[in-house]
């Protein structure tokens, strides 16, 4: 794979340097069989250093995860090697099974097959809370 040219897929750009692996993990990119490129510490005019992820497949990309990690990330949608769309990211109101409650007193620590759900409690401070125990994410 030539990492510069994606045919159909996504370029996730302007990721804060060092955050790339977290996104790789949260998006479960390890499970994909298509080519995925992780570029770390790339030069950026705006940011100094940045991470970039390229995915050469038209997967169902979870924008909520990206919005949660950093709504300033840029997502370019590539069709036939051209950028056809730049996705706007927002802080998701609700996240299901993306982050997990660490409170040992929370029912989610013992109840079988219970989804871990967090809702946005304070947009300004970017605080998410577990819907069961109110623990901060």
């Amino acid at each position: 794979m030539n990492i510069d040219s994606i045919k159909n897929g996504f370029v996730i750009d302007h990721i804060k340097a060092g955050k790339g692996m977290e996104i790789y993990r949260l998006l479960k990119l390890k499970k994909l069989s298509c080519p995925v490129a992780m570029i770390m510490n790339a030069q950026s005019f705006k940011m100094g250093k940045k991470d970039v992820i390229k995915i050469d497949s038209d997967i169902n990309l979870n924008l909520d995860i990206l919005g949660y990690v950093d709504p300033d990330i840029t997502v370019n949608v590539i069709k036939d090697s051209v950028i056809v769309e730049k996705k706007k990211l927002e802080l998701p109101e609700k996240m299901t099974d993306i982050i997990f409650c660490k409170n040992p007193r929370c029912i989610s620590s013992t109840e079988q097959e219970l989804s871990h759900v967090f809702t946005l409690a304070d947009r300004g401070r970017r605080i998410y809370r577990c819907i069961y125990c109110d623990a901060e994410a």
Partner: protein, 303 residues
Amino acid sequence: MRHLIDILELSVNELDELISTACDIIENGEKYAHKCAGKKLATLFFEPSTRTRLSFEAAMYELGGNVLTMADAGSSSAAKGESVADTAKMISCYADIIAMRHPKEGAPLVAANNATIPVINAGDGGHHHPTQTLADLLTIHREKGRFNDLTIGLCGDLKFGRTVHSLIGAMTRYKHIKFVLISPEELRVPDYVKNIITDAGHEFIETTSLEESMPMLDILYMTRVQRERFFNEEEYLRLKDSYILNVEKLNNAKEDLVIMHPLPRVNEISVAVDNDKRACYFKQALYGKYMRMALILKLLGIK
């Protein structure tokens, strides 16, 4: 279908309705004696809390209903590995309404999401206990006659005391409330609770002295300072007496002070105070039963 998991799910109007129903029950009890005939309340207590369970059961009996109890739920279903979701689905087949106490935070919400009947949170760990707050609010209404223009002293363990946090949350929705937060340094109100007070435009004072705060208070809400909350025994012994309410400390209190406590009391209010007309904590338990009656009626949709 409505549940009650967190006190703030009830609007101020709904609280007013519950309070007026409770007052009508107090004045015209016989009118309500058969309202819940043929209905069953299931009390599922996954940790022991005899007082709360008896209050719910007394409430249902006074409405003419029946009670199914799983007093040792913790040692039966959970011990066999049954999930809260399954327990809620199963009990929905037998009862009309559930009151659930559980040591895990959020367990009643899981039950509510799976039950086909209303679920009342009767306490989930250190998290919510909305029917205690209902009892507190009816006490304030009956004993002070108003929810606005009050100086409320909260004394004791303000860090871990969930009843204190819920009461603060509920009272910030009224006007001109001043909170006097009386606790040892180690057990101060958490910052997020202070934010709730200031965000709602109310004032608070933090102090370590119960005696100095006393003259300004309209309400004094006492809680227990537990030994295990302290880092060392010395600190505990040094501090514990300053947070015990006795007859002497009441000398410079207002004549119409209302003294509250969620009970059980251990030693934080001396028994001699019980004879003071300002002591309202046993009435508060009685008010709790009336509010639970009003709540059961509301959630069952019975007028």
